[in-house]
């Protein structure tokens, strides 16, 4: 039966260093949730804590409402998939996959049948007698996946499972992981530092920073409506501009920042607080001709060619920003231009100051 997972008020320490601070996370039954963050943010610690290899110094780990904090790792019924596969080098593929069943006392014939079935699902039926050393990276990770799935665990944990594979295989494997997770209807936690990977396979993503969850939401919301500057930066809003409202009339809001004035339409932007930070991707600032009536005046400096468009570094009254220019209009470095905001590629964040 598919189970839900709740972390409530989890703290963890390595010696005196606190690595997790009062962390909460709820994962619904059957969901695939990614923990996303740079190394050292606490995502792997969180995973190891759920697996039972680390003890929290505070808080509870609830599996379907039951506190498993005191349950030993080998009794937690959790499948783990590691970055470096962690196959048993001295056992054949079939013995690797059958190991968990053997521990559960599943008898030989039934075990063999279930191992064969699972190897079939990951496309490795022909490899059951091989030793792990004779497999490619992708095949090894499939064996690891089969080994974790065959015990029908209440929870499946992935620790950067695709980091050792090459780019093409990574994309194929993540689709495969998602399909298997759905097909078996197993709740899963997926740790990665790769934003694209996390967003592409997860129902929800928790972006972690310094032992806390910065924002926990669907990939779509995270990508478009980051809740704070850290998440905004993480999902590619490179330019941050501090602004304040100077006047409101009808749906139009006049804003000012470092002497530059412009207006935002609340019908497009949503409600605008009195003081805020505007986050913009490079695509959120479009370069137009200097003689246009709208937009922030700018001097273009460095130009980079991206194939579908140009990126410019632009000096504006608001500081140096990255902007996007059309492929068919070639501005030269040093040209005067104007920058127009593209609302879909911008976000409004709480004021940082």
């Amino acid at each position: 039966m598919t189970k839900s997972l709740n972390l409530s008020g989890i703290s963890a320490h390595y010696g005196r260093t606190q690595v997790l601070k009062d962390l909460d996370l709820d994962v619904k039954a059957g969901e695939l949730v990614s923990l996303l963050g740079a190394s050292g943010c606490g995502k792997t610690t969180t995973l190891r804590l759920i697996a039972g290899f680390l003890q929290a110094t505070g808080g509870q780990v609830l599996l379907d409402g039951q506190d498993i904090s005191g349950v030993a790792a080998h009794r937690r019924d959790i499948g783990l998939v590691f970055q470096n596969y962690a196959l048993f080098p001295h056992m054949s593929v079939a013995d690797n996959v059958g190991f968990g069943l053997k521990q559960r006392g599943v008898a030989g014939p039934e075990r063999g049948a279930r191992v064969d079935e699972m190897l079939g699902k990951v496309g490795l039926d022909a490899f059951s007698d091989r030793l792990p050393a004779a497999l490619s990276g992708g095949q090894k990770q499939r064996v690891a996946l089969a080994r974790a799935l065959v015990i029908k665990p209440s929870l499946l944990l992935f620790d950067e499972p695709l980091s050792n594979l090459d780019a093409k295989l990574r994309v194929d494997m993540r689709v495969e992981i998602r399909e298997l997770q759905r097909a078996h209807d197993i709740t899963a936690i997926y740790v990665t530092h790769d934003q694209e990977e996390a967003f592409s396979i997860s129902d929800r993503v928790a972006i972690m920073d310094a032992g806390q969850i910065s924002q926990y939401d669907t990939p779509e919301t995270l990508y478009r409506r980051p809740a704070n500057a850290f998440v905004a930066n993480f999902v590619g809003f490179e330019t941050m501009i501090d602004l304040r409202v100077t006047g409101r009339s009808g749906g139009h809001v006049s804003v000012e920042g470092r002497g530059a004035n412009f207006s935002l339409d609340e019908n497009v932007w949503g409600s605008v607080p009195d003081a805020f930070t505007l986050g913009a991707r490079a695509d959120g600032l479009r370069v137009v001709e200097a003689n246009e009536s709208e937009g922030l005046p700018a001097t273009l400096t460095v130009r980079t060619y991206l194939g579908r468009s140009y990126h410019y570094r632009a000096e504006t009254p608001l500081g140096s920003v990255l902007a996007n220019g059309p492929i068919d209009r070639h501005f030269s470095e040093g040209d005067q231009a104007r920058l127009v905001l593209v609302p879909e590629q911008c976000c409004i964040l709480p004021a940082t100051a």
């Binding site: 790792a73 962690a86 080098p89």
Partner: protein, 261 residues
């Protein structure tokens, strides 16, 4: 055809002569048909080989040496494998000096070590010779057990052990079913290296052997002090053959890479 410079060739030959020369001399002297050690050998006789078996002390002390070697190596592995495991697995949480601490028995001059064991164990506790020898040898071979098993563990990926635990295997069982089979080669290599070390040891045994109870190397020393005939040379040849056989066995099963690595 590759051509080697004459200097390289000459130095290589010199090294071989330096390494093998003494062994050849001993082997040649062992078959000398004289009452004293002679090189070049005069005549040919195997009677000194026969004499090894006539001197009962050699047989007796060889058995003691064998017994001490097997037991002390076994004990050193019993201590060394868990110690090496703990240092590889939890090394980050242990003091750095610990690894150095375990090689101390190699670093401390063995003659000093033998003497301190004599005063500490034999005199203060009045332990019989065999247990004293056993303790001494266990300590001197312990560094080999820890280092060789540790080298083997260094290449082992402990996440496999965690994988086993997550699959429902209790930690102790995971050690025996997952870790141990993968460091078997290292343990065997440690066994052989420690075994040879114990079998050859003189400085520590010298202090700990007592009246009537001795090890083979000490017995050989004693014999040479009293008789200068080629018996010891003959015995040395037998020991060399034994060592070569053991090494050949290791080479066949593991490859000597275990020692060179």
């Amino acid at each position: 055809m590759r051509r080697y410079s004459p200097i390289l060739a000459i130095s290589a030959i010199a090294v071989f002569i330096f390494l093998l020369g003494p062994l050849v001399i001993v082997a040649a002297a062992s078959v000398s048909n004289t009452e004293f050690l002679a090189f070049p050998p005069q005549g040919f006789s195997l009677r000194w080989f026969q004499n090894i078996f006539d001197v009962s002390a050699f047989g007796d002390t060889f058995l003691i040496s064998l017994q001490i070697a097997v037991l002390s190596v076994f004990l050193s592995l019993l201590i060394g494998v868990p110690a090496a495991y703990a240092m590889s697995r939890f090394g980050f949480a242990l003091p750095k000096a610990l690894a150095s601490f375990f090689v101390l028995p190699i670093l401390v001059p063995q003659i000093v070590f033998g003497f301190s064991l004599l005063s500490a164990i034999s005199v203060d506790f009045d332990l019989p010779v065999i247990p004293t020898l056993l303790i001494g040898h266990t300590i001197i071979v312990l560094p080999y057990s820890i280092r060789v098993v540790g080298a083997s563990l260094a290449t082992f990926d402990f996440s496999a052990e965690e994988a086993a635990i997550s699959l429902g295997c209790p930690p102790v069982k995971a050690f025996f079913t997952i870790v141990l089979p993968n460091i078997r080669g290292g343990i065997l290599a440690a066994f052989i290296l420690a075994f040879i070390t114990s079998l050859n040891n003189v400085p520590v045994s010298l202090f700990l052997t007592g009246p009537g109870v001795s090890t083979l190397p000490i017995q050989m020393l004693t014999y040479v002090e009293n008789f200068f005939d080629p018996t010891v040379a003959a015995l040395s040849v037998l020991l060399m053959v034994l060592t070569v056989l053991v090494m050949a066995l290791v080479e066949k099963t593991l490859g000597l890479g275990y020692f060179v690595r």
